[in-house]
């Protein structure tokens, strides 16, 4: 028989917060790995991070990208990150909170970035994703469209694409869609 019975009483006492403190908050392994990712962040000057729920909730944060070149120069784009307790086994869920005219980001904020879905690997980290997001703005890609119209314009008429992006960032209409000013 396993040595079961002597210790159960004691464990129950320990577990029962006998000293009157608040219940122990469970730390998931994902949270700890994330702690490492965050404490080692090395962001480009164009990107910053903030923690809307305060310094202790690392599982939900926001990343702001301010491109310093390309079509989106001068714009400010905010992404929300939601990290699972089994991170990095699963990639974070990333959404673009700023409505953007972009071939790889749809109007609901879904982002088509390979490392967020099909090419995610546990060796990747938050830093890699942020760099990936940044590159979406310097190199929008018409071959992986989420916003079909924007992708077609980028491919067929880069000049028009450029002026559409400027109009969207200034808070105007592109086709039927009204964008919010983000510059």
């Amino acid at each position: 028989m396993i040595k079961l019975f002597k210790v159960k009483e004691k464990q129950r006492e320990n577990a029962g917060n006998a000293d009157g403190r608040a219940p122990v908050k469970k730390q998931s392994a994902g949270e700890l790995r994330l702690h490492r990712d965050i404490s080692e962040l090395n962001l480009p000057k164009t990107c910053s991070i903030s923690f809307p729920n305060g310094k202790d909730d690392l599982m939900n944060f926001e990343v702001t990208v301010r491109p310093d070149e390309g079509y989106y120069l001068g714009g400010t784009f905010i992404f929300s990150f939601q990290v699972s307790p089994v991170y990095p086994h699963e990639p974070p869920k990333v959404k673009c909170k700023t409505k953007v005219y972009h071939p790889n980001i749809d109007l609901e904020g879904n982002v088509c970035l390979n490392i967020l879905r099909e090419d995610w690997k546990p060796v990747l980290n938050i830093n890699t994703i942020i760099y990936g997001l940044f590159h979406l703005f310097t190199q929008p890609n018409h071959e992986d469209p989420l916003n079909h119209d924007a992708a077609a314009v980028l491919r067929d008429n880069p000049k028009l694409f450029e002026s559409n992006v400027r109009r969207a960032m200034a808070g105007g209409y592109v086709g039927q869609t009204l964008f919010t000013r983000c510059m």
Binding site: K3, L4, R12, R21, K26, S28, A29, E40, E90, C112
Partner: protein
Amino acid sequence: MAEAASTPSKSRDLDKLLLRPGNLVDPNFEPGTELRLALQEQVKVLVVGAGGLGCELLKDLALSGFKNLEVIDMDRIEVTNLNRQFLFRLEDVGKPKAEVAAKRVMERVKGVNIVPHFCRIEEKDNEFYSDFHIIALGLDSIEARSYINAVACSFLEYDSDDNPREETATPMVDGGTEGFKGHARVIKPGFTPCFECTIWLFPPQVKFPLCTLAETPRNAPHCIEYAHLIKWNEVHGGKAFDPDNSDHMKWVYDEAVKRAELFGIPGVTYSLTQGVVKNIIPAIASTNAIISAACALETLKIVSGCSKTLSNYLTYNGVEGLHTKVTEFVRDKDCLVCGPGVLVELDTTVTLQKFIDMLEEHPKLLMSKASIRYRGKNLYMQAPPVLEEMTRSNLSLPLYDLMDKVPKDILHATGTINKDNKKSSGLRKLRVVFKGIDGVTDMDMAGGA
């Protein structure tokens, strides 16, 4: 014994295992009726999950002589469960699985007492889980396994030489099935790899590129994921999709059907929709039965010592013919969940800054630029600047105060490890003990993550 002779029926087969000595038994095995009685009267087993595997586990454990069982599950019974979750009937649809499963097994197996818990596993505190001698898992999610694993490992204690104290380990038996494949494993925290040591065994979920879903769907799962990930947000805006809400699931199914018709793709069904959205491969009743039987047997062996236990991971594959294999995985020495961590003894006056400096000198750590996290709180973060600023004022405070004057506890440090003139990034578990506090000895030191 006379009683055994006069009651030939129920425990006859069990008695062959529990009442007779053997060659392949555990060193602590003491055959006899006392053991049988202890098994029945004293041992408390928790079954986590009352789905396909959980139903089997409850029934198997009850028939194996365990009389004190509890079961926890947050789900209600759905029509699609009835083909394999054999404890449930049509009139049970909509009722909590845990409650119906407990009732049905108690009706069928005389003398067994099963306490159901209809709630999420996170709603129960450590005190609840610490009550069980062994935990059997019949789950289909990695998150849930990871959670129970962390709870069970938190009961493990290490001595001052980093040896696990066997009597504090709460063993787990974990089963899992996917279609015709399955696994059964034994986790004894501190002795065999825990779930987190080998999380890589679970293949990551297949995630289709969003642009494929949006532009060029080629099969039924593409249509379903389009409805689930893209169309849902388009129509419902900020409202979160809840996979356990059948109205939500029905909506996704209807949209997937429309999408499939548009592209001339066959094969979208309601159960496939559930499977794709919840990442579940259709369950096969026979696989559940086989895996559960293996788990119940291991539970019996661990508790009684009547035979050597599985060491430590059995895979079963019934896709073509039948193949089983046992693999002995090894522990991750640095596992943050089940490992001992590095023991650090401190005076109560040591400030956080001093502590961080000490980690650089500590021979087992050699960690510079450490960031420190304690019980879900960031005591100090080296980066990013926004968090460094918010935590900087802690540096001058005594660590003892920052840890709420707890005499001994676990904290985590992440930083640069300087070993053999090489720098690498590292995340370490630390067992901090404050010297000179009443009632604390080096000997007992809680483990866990």
